[in-house]
Symmetry: none
Subunit: 232 residues, 2 copies
DNA sequence: TGAGAGAGGGTGTGA
DNA sequence: TCACACCCTCTCTCA
C-alpha cells in the first residue's frame, strides 16, 4: 500500500535492523499480488522473480513460503490440490516450509468455505502433515511475516555458542516420569504406585491383582501396567 | 457441566459418526472453562478430570492439547513461560502435541499484545519449535477442534514425519518410550535394551553387568538404569 | 593385560 | 523440528 518509510513498519523484522541483505526469490505467479512490493519496501531486501518449482517465496535455503489467500485456499481444498502440495512442502530438506494463509472471511466472503471445513482442512495440514501455518490479514502483513520468520530462522543458524544447562532430576522424579509413560498413569497414580511398591522394579514385579490394590488403579490401568512391563 | 448444546454438532467431528467412545483426560485447572462442558455435549465423549503433568487435554496416545486464551497467551509471552512450555510440549513422545489459541482480539482486548508481538511469538512457536498451532474463536469451537483433530490423527495410519531415532510401533513403542525416560537412554539404546532383554521387566531385572553387555551401554548408563529401577 | 587417548555416536538442549 | 555441544562408549595402541 505505502512503500515508503521502512521505519514506519512496526514489525520486529524491521525493528531489529537486519545484519545483511535478504535475498528473496519470488515465484513469478506472485507478481500480480501486493506482497512483492511490500517486501521490496523493506530495507535490505532484494527480490528476484523466478520460476519456483515449489512454494511462492524462498529465502536462502532456510524458508519456503507457500502463500494462499483464503480464496486460493478454499479452491485448493475443493480440488484436493492442498494436501498434495502440503505433502510436497514438508518433504523439502534443508529449508523450513510454511503456509501463510492471507485474508479474513470479511474480504473473501465469496469463496469462503464453511468455517468448519476451513478448520478441518487446517487441522489436517497443521497436525497431520505437520506443516506450519501462519495467518495474515493483508499482503503487508504477509511480507512482514515472511521477513520476521526468515530472520528468526537465520538467527538460529548464525548463533554464538551457548551454555548448556544440566538438570540433575531427583531420583524419585525420574521414577515417577518412567511410570507416567504408561497409558492412564499420570503423576498421581505414578506416585501411589511408587509409595506402594517402592521402586519401578517393584511395580514391574507386581501382579495385576497386586496392582489393583492401589488406590485409583482399576482393572484397566492394572492390565496396562502389566502389559507394558511384560508384553502381551 | 451443562450438556444442553445439541446444536454443537456442526463440526466434522460429529458429522462423521465416531467409531467409538473418545476418552478425554482434562486437567483439573481447565474445570472453570467452558470447554469441558462443550466436549461433554458431544455424543461418545467421556471426559475425566485429572492432574496432567503437561497440556490441558489429552486423548490417549493421540493428542495433547495445550489451550490458551489470548489473555493467557499474552501473559505467557511476557513472562517467557511460553517458550519453555512449547519446548516441553514438542518433546512429548506419546502423542502429538498442539497449541490451541482461543479467543479474538475483540473479547480479549485488555490483554492483547501488539499484533506484531503476537505474530512474532506465533512464528517462533510454529516455525522454530515446530509446534502446531490452531486458532479457535470460542470454547465450543475449541471443543470441536479437539475432537476433530483427535479423529483425524486416529484415523491416519500416517504418523507425522520422522523424529530422530527408531520408530517402533504399538506396544514396543511404549516400552521404548518408558526406557527413554532414563538418563543417557535415547531411542537407540532403548531399542537395543529391548532387543536384548525382551521387555522393560527384563531390563529392570538385569544386573549392572548384564546391562553393560549391550552394545552402547557402558558403566555409566548401566548404573543409571539400575538406579532408576531399584533406587540407590 | 591394562591404561589412556581419540574417534564416533548418541543424547539432551536450546531455539 | 533442527542443529549441534557434550559426554559416553568402544577400539586401538603401547607399555
Ligand atoms: Mg500460492
Ligand atoms: Mg492452559
Amino acid at each position: 500500500m505505502k512503500p515508503k518509510q521502512s521505519n514506519a513498519m512496526k514489525t520486529g523484522a524491521s525493528d531489529a535492523p537486519p545484519q545483511f541483505v535478504r535475498r528473496i526469490a519470488v515465484d513469478h505467479r506472485e507478481r500480480p499480488s501486493e506482497v512483492p512490493a511490500a517486501l521490496a519496501a523493506h530495507p535490505d531486501v532484494r527480490i528476484t522473480f523466478d520460476q519456483l518449482s515449489l512454494g511462492d517465496y524462498r529465502i536462502d535455503n532456510t524458508l519456503i513460503v507457500e502463500r494462499k489467500t483464503l480464496t486460493d485456499f478454499a479452491q485448493s481444498v475443493r480440488d484436493g490440490r492442498l494436501f498434495a502440495q502440503a505433502s510436497r512442502l514438508i518433504r523439502v530438506k534443508r529449508a523450513r516450509p510454511c503456509l501463510i494463509l492471507e485474508g479474513t472471511r470479511i474480504n473473501h466472503w465469496s469463496a469462503a468455505l464453511p468455517r468448519t471445513a476451513l478448520q478441518g482442512a487446517l487441522i489436517t495440514v497443521t497436525l497431520v502433515f505437520g506443516l506450519p501455518v501462519l495467518r495474515s490479514a493483508s499482503p503487508e502483513e504477509t511480507a512482514n511475516l515472511i521477513l520476521y520468520a526468515a530472520d528468526q530462522l537465520h538467527r538460529r543458524a548464525t548463533r554464538p555458542p551457548k551454555r548448556r544447562g544440566y538438570h540433575p532430576k531427583g531420583l524419585n522424579r525420574q521414577q515417577n516420569f518412567l511410570l507416567q509413560t504408561i497409558p492412564e498413569i499420570g503423576p498421581t497414580r505414578a506416585q501411589r504406585l511408587l509409595n506402594t511398591f517402592g521402586t519401578p522394579f517393584g511395580v514391574a514385579s507386581a501382579t495385576i491383582d497386586d496392582l489393583q490394590m492401589v488406590d485409583g488403579i482399576g482393572k484397566s490401568a492394572a492390565t496396562k501396567i502389566h502389559q507394558v512391563f511384560h508384553g502381551p
